[in-house]
């Protein structure tokens, strides 16, 4: 390579850098670069990482017999609350995020405590109900008055209407964790479960995982830029060998809601990916968990590439 070529190439790169500096800075800001996000060679958790069992959680809840009304959560019925916790412990996949809410990220990450430590989750929820605050992982969650009054009153959200425990959990997380999307709506008001107040960007999601659970998180992707992976189905398949992973998706494409074709897609939805497999006619079957159900959707590779903006896998840390 001649010095002339080098100079030309350097000038070309500088030109690109100058032209697109705003985008580059934005991408760096939005991307979740964290020294703690290196992939662990041991991969994701398996059953050996189970901290407690559903039976232990049920035994604990049964030992309480009954729960008195809480002054911290005046609208959350204690009988229904306790019943909800039993259902969460025994059938975690029936957990529901509510129609039209922005709770999908909180819903997706709930897979971790319900799968690996249902007893720990039950204990945390009971303490939160009785004392108005409780510690989970590295954080003490102490929701504000507006949120505490609202829990139990959310309506027309499907099964979330009859789940005061689910409402308490989601509202508490949304109240505590904030990202740049929440800057313009930091305080809870009526109906904010559907607004930017409850929304989650990719970095916030990964931060929540690290703060709440004993996990090592490995994240790939960003809010506006798709992950740089050559063969996305193969990459996802490889990651899934060690357990479920989280995906940050463009919901406008996943669940089409208008006939308008938009070229600029942004991700707004978190799901837990459970399985991926090739089907006939070069189609791919993806199985994911969202809206309280497991969903199997048949998509083509191009569509999959278009919708995936973030991939997060995790490893349970051994004590």
């Amino acid at each position: 390579m001649t010095p002339y070529c080098l100079t030309r190439k350097l000038r070309y790169h500088l030109l690109i850098l100058f032209r697109y500096h705003t985008i580059i800075i934005l991408v760096i800001l939005l991307t979740c670069f964290d020294p703690d996000t290196k992939a662990s060679p041991s991969g994701n958790p398996s059953d050996s990482n189970q901290i407690s069992t559903p039976q232990q959680a049920i035994a604990f809840l049964d030992s309480l017999q009954r729960l008195d009304s809480s002054k911290y959560w005046p609208n959350a019925d204690p009988v229904l609350f306790l019943e909800n916790l039993r259902v969460f412990a025994t059938t975690p996949f029936k957990f529901y995020e509510g129609k039209g809410t922005n709770f999908c990220s909180y819903f997706a990450l709930t897979y971790i405590p319900l799968s690996y430590d249902p007893l720990g989750f039950s204990r945390f929820m009971i303490e939160l109900y009785q004392k108005g605050k409780a510690r989970m992982g590295k954080v003490v969650l102490k929701p504000g008055v507006a949120v505490r009054k609202e829990a139990g009153l959310l309506k027309y959200k499907g099964p979330l209407d009859i789940s005061p425990a689910g409402q308490i959990w989601f509202l508490t997380l949304a109240d505590h964790f904030k990202g740049y999307l929440n800057i313009f709506n930091l305080r809870f008001h009526d109906g904010d479960e559907n607004t930017l107040w409850a929304s989650t960007n990719f970095a916030k999601f990964n931060r929540m995982l690290r703060k709440l659970f004993p996990v090592k998180v490995h994240a790939k992707g960003a809010d506006l830029v798709r992950p740089w992976v050559d063969d996305l189905p193969a990459y996802l398949e490889k990651k899934l060998r060690d357990g479920p992973i989280f995906l940050y998706l463009n919901n406008r494409l996943l669940y089409k809601k208008t006939h308008v074709v938009t070229r600029f897609g942004i991700p707004t939805h978190f799901v837990l990916l459970l399985d991926i497999s090739w089907s006939e006619n070069k189609m791919i079957n993806i199985t994911y968990w969202d809206y309280g159900k497991m969903t199997l959707q048949r998509v083509d590779e191009e569509f999959l590439r278009k919708i995936v903006f973030g991939i997060t896998d995790y490893t349970i840390k051994k004590k």
Binding site: G100, K256, M294, T295, L296, R298
Partner: protein, 201 residues
């Protein structure tokens, strides 16, 4: 220059006024003109749904691409077909749908420009209830430079409360308006409400 700006403002005002009156007229007439078809779609959907819970979407502008969501107890399957593809029939047979009834439902939906039909669950006094939710995409609502609009209908099994302006109320708290998918609905009759929305589902 000033006259050009005035001209643009006048055109915009005329356009805005015409589009508003268009929507209002549309909602007044559409249901009465298509009531029989819409009720037929609803009853056929309910018959099929009782055997196999599902939701149906016609998601392209020509209404020829179908999104079929089949709900079982444990899993929800989402398929995408072209109406002319043989896979649609194969799938209907696989999940033991009445293929003839389903085809009639699809044909009726295409005729009435329905883009989405589903059963929405909701809770009143902790009791689970359902309403049938239908969206219509009509050319009269969607013109050049107009934002996309859908005529969405909610069919309830029981009569619903409305305020004096015809807005749907929360049956457990008559001081509050009831929103469906985040939208305010208005009265067509005691069991049917409508809204003009930017999304069909």
């Amino acid at each position: 220059m000033k006259s050009i700006i005035n001209y643009i403002i006048l055109l915009s005002l005329l356009y805005g006024a015409s589009s508003c009156s268009h929507s209002k007229k549309f909602t007044q007439n559409y249901y009465s003109e298509n009531e029989a078809t819409l009720q037929s779609i609803r009853s056929r959907f309910k018959q099929l749904y009782d055997k196999n819970p599902f939701a149906l979407e016609l998601h392209d502008k020509k209404l020829s691409r179908i999104g079929l969501e089949i709900h079982t107890d444990s899993i929800r399957y989402i398929y995408d077909f072209n109406t002319s593809e043989p896979y649609l029939l194969d799938t209907l047979h696989k999940y033991q749908f009445d293929a003839r009834q389903m085809n009639e439902l699809i044909n009726d939906m295409q005729k009435a420009n329905c883009t989405w039909i589903t059963n929405l669950d909701y809770y009143e006094k902790r009791q689970k209830k359902f309403l049938v939710f239908i969206s219509v995409r009509d050319k009269k609502l969607n013109g050049f430079l107009k934002p996309e609009k859908y005529f969405t209908l909610a069919f309830f099994d029981q009569p619903q409360p409305y305020d004096e302006r015809g807005r749907l109320l929360d049956s457990e708290d008559l001081k509050k308006n009831r929103l469906i998918n985040g939208e305010m609905f208005r009265k067509i009759n005691s069991n049917v409400s409508y809204a003009l929305t930017g999304k069909f589902r």
